[in-house]
């Protein structure tokens, strides 16, 4: 399969072939990061702008390293140092950035749909690095790559996603991605954090955490967004941890060789206990390594070939 796509806005719109191509390309790119000279000339002369309206360490650094390892030039713009604080609209910012002729804009924004809107304003590629509670496609791709690498397959794998499903773009992108590739997905979390109708995306809602992780091959813990605590989705971090945090006791009720994922940043002792986060079945750091390879694959497939400008 070949992709003629201009943008990567979400997993929902991708075909199974496109996801598989992205994953196999990312597998090849892992080798580049293992070399002594971690650079290939593939995207020489291309410019990538990282436009982040929300804080990020992992994702922004990962996109930047991916671009640089492919010899593209990466420019980072964060909200605190941009003209957005002077009241410039997103549309104006986009038009101005576009005038500098970048080849791709990687955008993270707190409002769902921002990348989609941006993609209509600019002719260059737009890559969604997380938009509100909507999608985070590169995170889902690196999660799929990590599972595929460890278990050798995604088809038939049982995935449990635990935590704040309602606010999680990671959960949404992963539900789309894993179900498309034939995995079965179960979600669990405090009832206030399970959006009504989430089953329509093709996942099952478990009654409680033990029910969710009992048969799971992969347990994905989501970050509890403590900054949203004032909205009182659960009584206290301690209670959350007792009911939905993954610790050694709860892990004993799961399959022996179940693997554990977390998109980061980790709230140690809240959604996951330190001994589990650092334990032998935790692939949290493999996820980060795979993130660079996945983002190299995204750049390669979107920026490499010539595209008729529309």
């Amino acid at each position: 399969m070949k992709t003629k796509r201009k943008d990567l806005l979400g997993i929902e719109g991708l075909t199974v072939d496109e996801i598989e191509l992205l994953l196999s390309t990312a597998e090849s790119f892992k080798e580049v990061s293992a070399r002594e000279i971690k650079k290939v000339p593939t995207l020489r002369g291309k410019t990538v702008i990282n436009l982040f309206y929300e804080p990020s360490t992992r994702t922004r650094t990962s996109f930047e390293i991916a671009a640089k390892r492919m010899s593209a030039d990466a420019v980072n713009i964060s909200i605190s140092s941009s003209s957005a604080v002077k009241g410039e609209t997103l549309k104006d910012t986009a038009r101005n950035l576009e005038a500098m002729k970048p080849d791709a804009i990687v955008i993270r924004h707190s409002s769902a749909g921002t990348p989609e809107m941006l993609s209509r304003y600019v002719a260059c590629s737009v890559i969604n690095a997380g938009d509100g509670a909507h999608e985070h496609p590169s995170q889902a791709l690196l999660d799929m790559l990590t599972v595929k690498e460890r278990l050798g397959r995604i088809k038939g794998v049982k995935l449990a996603i635990i935590g704040d499903i309602a606010h999680s773009r990671v959960a949404r992108s992963n539900i789309y991605g894993f179900t498309k590739l034939g995995a079965s997905v179960t979600v669990a979390g405090p009832p206030t954090m399970i959006p009504p109708g989430i089953e329509r995306l093709g996942c099952r809602v478990a009654l409680n955490m033990t029910d969710a992780i009992r048969d799971a091959d992969v347990i994905m813990m989501l970050r509890i967004q403590l900054e949203r605590q004032d909205e009182a989705f659960f009584p206290s971090a301690r209670e959350y941890s007792r009911l939905y945090g993954l610790d050694a006791d709860k892990l004993r009720t799961a399959k022996k060789d179940a693997i554990i994922l977390h998109p980061g940043p980790v709230n140690r002792g809240v959604e996951i206990s330190p001994d589990v986060a650092d334990g032998p079945y935790s692939l949290i750091l493999d996820q980060v390594t795979n993130g660079v390879a996945v983002r190299m694959a995204i750049f390669y497939l979107l920026l490499g070939a010539s595209r008729e400008q529309s």
């Binding site: 992709t3 390309t25 090849s28 580049v32 002594e36 290939v40 000339p41």
Partner: protein, 184 residues
Amino acid sequence: MKTNVVMDEKAIERALSRIAHEVIERNRGGERLVILGIPTRGYELARRLKKIIDEIEGTDIPVGAVDATLYRDDLAIKKTQPTLKKMDIPISIDDRRIILVDDVLFTGRTIRAGMNALMDFGRPLSIQLAVLVDRGHRELPIKADYVGKNLPTSVKEGVKVRMKEIDGVNEVVLESACEGKPIT
């Protein structure tokens, strides 16, 4: 489309066996040699060449694959991205004699890309080029050290190497296009 078999299984075997002897003679044995093929068919040829040299010399020469895709000069002008293949450099190539193997030598651009890729892995003592078929029409100053068969062609013709491991049959065919349509 007219196709014409220009090398059959026996001819390929003989050519590889001659190349093996030439490699051994020129390098005085198998010492410090590393054989690297360009996927997909160059890699299969590299493995066959290794086997023949090992049988003659009693050596175990490291064999691997060099994927030149990321170093190609036509990525920005192609309509779609070529699929990445395997990169497998089994040992450090510093101070080694590299035998780079490909199936068909044509414009020389793949070999240029392959050599650039290799240079990112170290500083080999030398790189020698072995190809099963040299069909001419070079666009870069590149020449093979070992050639299975020199095959004068027109640019409108296509040369296809088929190998048992991939295509189920060992042969080299020359394809002539209909109505002057070039084959690539």
